[in-house]
Amino acid sequence: MTSARDLLRSRPEGLCCPEGQFFIDPVRPVERALITHGHADHARAGHGAVLATKETLDIMRLRYGEGFAGTVQEARPDEAISINGMRITFHPAGHVLGSAQIAVEANGARIVASGDYKRSRDPTCAPFEPIPCDVFITEATFALPVFTHPDPTHEVGQLLTSLKQFPERTHIVGAYTLGKAQRVIALLREAGYGETIYIHGALAKLCAYYESTGVPLGPLQAATVEEEGEAPPAGTVVVAPPAAIDDRWSRRFADPLACFASGWMRIRQRARQRGVELPLIISDHADWNELTDTIRETGAGEVWVTHGREEALVRWCELNGIMAKPLHLAGYEDEAE
């Protein structure tokens, strides 16, 4: 009799299903990979066969080109797929467009790998669905009780206020290329900001892809054009990958005001260290309350905690009578957001 905890285990390549002979989000090329979402540390090129949602496959194709895997298979919502006797289902994780939790079932036991997820509202992707399970593998990026993400509309309001206070300065918003950037833009649109938003070149393809799937982002323009000296007018919003904020790239803008959209901005010292003037606490990962609420909702009797601050969440589970252990998976970027 297989129990849920035997369905998956940690291997150097990543989370492995020995009986099903597949890996979830492997960090090295494998025969068969199931991918939760398109972020580069979860979705790598070079696997034999890839099973993922249509959006994740599209995103991998955008990033790595047509031949990113030997064969691909699309996981449709609410459709069960059988792999070597394992029953596999994909369920929305609310992290970025196309992100999914992966449930693996056999002999009536079910284990769910959450991938990265969040519970707060995001106009750019389907909301997280809690899946009842025996073992829940949760991410732990923000697994400390000090991480409480405020309502993102409040944070976007801060950005709009600053644009009024400093109309002569270009507000450069550092935001992760896939997901965060589009979410920030969509939130700005929801808040009534109708002006052209200027985007870094690294965002162009993904923004166009989001729009093609029916996520309206409003008027966008490239922030950098070929001709030297051409920069967006002062007082506009530029969205760029975080690393570009204090790169030489930002020098072309009018007295740039560095903003950074990330859950890490909850900690003042983090903002200070990065030279961020306007921190925007907008995260695509669950905060402490979302993590603990989700663990309760799944009804899981056992929780495996991975990539992040495992020890705090394990402690919380112990205090709440839930069996828990840290699951050490190599190769994920702890701080990627």
Binding site: S162, F166, I245, R266, R268, E277
Partner: protein, 531 residues
């Protein structure tokens, strides 16, 4: 309260002075009375709630949160107030109190009910609001905004001179409603009813701005510019106060001087350490006495202060400020002669017949604690602020040293993509095998073009990175020599070199100079004041 919390959050991350001023004026414009007045009081250090202590906050929190989770969190965040503000279990749905309400509750809290008062506040506020409340309650907002800058924002908000606000300041109290009403043009200027008020000081322009060929040496008096802090000593009707040049009341830190102020007058002068009849101490001696709320007996014995008098603003009930300088000076001389000689003396005048003669004297001052000369037009009245023409400060030329660039750190704001903060060092150790020891850090003095050049140099010569800091190649055969100008040196136990520089800045880039010709630590040690 939330609006005040937001202001603090923005201020602490806004490096530019103008940016801070904008945020402050915006706060005064958009926040109604009385909250903005309490915000003003908090920023100018006018609120004090002795009943709340940091240790109490930790106890309150660990009563509500698992101590292990608290420890993990505190370890990660590194700041107690911030950890408590974030980890405090949210109650949700409660109306957040206004800043005035927070101040009201904290000021009525006794030592015994302070924990309950604080806990209730924390229940009602957002994480950001809690952080502000904790900082407010425990004192020290530490958002990089001085009382002076706050008053400058007020002046900009009301379109008045900052001296007008400084002059009124000590007659006013939180929540400053009559002050705001005046600044908004709704009421006349408040009358200053306070005893022994601060009178805005008269400041000098740098002599570099003066055209000596058109100035008549006969029309000016000269005196030494002493390296202490400028103060104003006011005693009126039994009230005695010592003010800094920006009008901060610093009486509490200098009971020895206050005790000797047995007169009815307002004097302008320099606060120095020592006994004027025997010894004038250095600025680093004086630093022992600065920025303290209270002062120990040992401090008073080892570092007694005195005032070297420059000017007379008030004598008895007569305002002397309208008199010409020469007249004020002779009255001052007579007045100081009767004061206790261990606490007061008269700043000596310098006789000179030509600018050349004065320049010679300036370059060879008779005392190490002199930092230049002051020129004062004999017929000028005492005017607030920095009027152009009557007073000039002619500083001694700065010291310079040739040092080697060792580390560069990225700047802030406009400079965030540039390596603009430079740590430099001089040679130390045996001459045949010297090592560089850092002696200071400078982030100005160069042009924008030079900044671009150094930035490129740093990027091309990086040997190691530590977050925003890069170590730059610097050895006997390779490196960039910077000529660093500074105003003086102090001994320091906090720096590896044992030396702290005052106002260091980059005066020249010595692309031409080989690194092994940079200065040695002994050169700097030779410039240290005795002691």
């Amino acid at each position: 309260m939330e609006r005040f919390a937001e202001l603090l959050d923005r201020l602490v991350l806004t490096p530019a002075r103008n940016g801070k001023l904008r945020l402050l004026t915006d706060y005064f414009t958009t926040v109604p009375d009385p909250d903005r007045g309490y915000g003003l009081a908090a920023l100018t250090g006018g609120l004090d709630f002795p009943a709340v202590k940091p240790a109490m906050l930790r106890t309150l929190t660990t009563e509500r949160v698992d101590p292990v989770l608290f420890a993990y969190s505190y370890d990660y965040v590194g700041d107690l107030a911030e950890t408590v503000s974030l980890i405090w279990p949210a109650d949700g749905g409660m109306e957040a109190p206004a800043l005035s309400e927070v101040v009201e509750r904290l000021s009525h809290a006794s030592r015994s009910d302070a924990p309950a008062v604080m806990a209730r506040l924390l229940d009602q506020l957002s994480p950001s609001g809690r952080f502000a409340a904790i900082k407010l309650a425990t004192g020290g907002l530490r958002v990089g905004v001085s009382a002076r800058l706050t008053k400058q924002a007020l002046a900009a908000f009301g379109n008045v001179e900052v001296q007008e606000i400084e002059e009124l300041w000590h007659g006013l109290a939180a929540p400053y409603t009559e002050l705001f009403a005046w600044l908004e043009g709704k009421r006349p200027k408040p009358e200053n009813a306070a005893k022994a008020p601060f009178r805005p000081v008269m400041l000098a322009h740098p002599a570099a701005e003066a055209d000596f060929s058109t100035l008549d040496p006969e029309a000016y008096a000269a005196e030494w510019k002493w390296d202490g802090i400028r103060v104003q000593a006011v005693a009126e009707g039994g009230v005695r106060r010592l003010y800094s040049r920006t009008g901060d009341d610093i009486s509490g830190a200098f009971p020895d001087l206050i005790e000797a102020m047995d007169f009815d007058a307002a004097l302008d002068g320099e606060l120095l350490v020592g006994d004027p009849r025997e010894k004038t101490g250095t600025f680093s001696d004086l630093q022992q006495r600065l920025n303290r709320k209270t002062v120990s007996r040992t401090m008073l014995t080892n570092y007694p202060v005195f005032m070297r008098c420059y000017d007379l603003l008030l004598l008895g009930d007569r305002d002397a400020r309208t008199l010409p300088y020469a007249e004020r000076r002779s009255q001052l001389a007579a007045f100081v002669a009767d004061l206790p000689g261990d606490r007061f003396d008269l700043s000596p005048e310098i006789s000179f017949a030509s600018w050349q003669e004065l320049d010679d004297k300036r370059c060879h001052p008779p005392h190490p604690v002199i930092e230049g000369v002051m020129l004062k037009r004999k017929d000028s009245p005492y005017l607030p602020g920095r009027p152009k023409g009557p007073w000039f400060k002619w500083k001694r030329d700065p010291f310079t040293v040739d040092a080697v660039l060792m580390y560069a750190q990225r700047g802030h704001g406009k400079r965030s993509s540039f390596y603009s903060d430079y740590t430099f060092g001089v040679w130390s150790g045996p001459t045949e095998d010297p090592v560089l020891v850092p002696v200071g850090k400078a982030y100005f003095g160069f042009t924008d073009e030079e900044l671009r050049q150094i930035d490129k140099y740093v990027r091309d010569n990086t040997v190691e990175r530590f977050g925003p800091v890069r170590a730059v190649r610097a050895d006997k055969s390779h490196g960039l020599v910077l000529e660093v100008a500074f105003e003086g040196l102090n001994r320091s136990t906090r720096h590896k070199s044992g030396i702290a520089m005052r106002f260091p800045r980059i005066s020249r880039l010595r692309w031409d100079k080989p690194t092994h010709e940079a200065d040695r630590i002994e050169t700097l040690e030779g410039m240290l004041p005795p002691g």
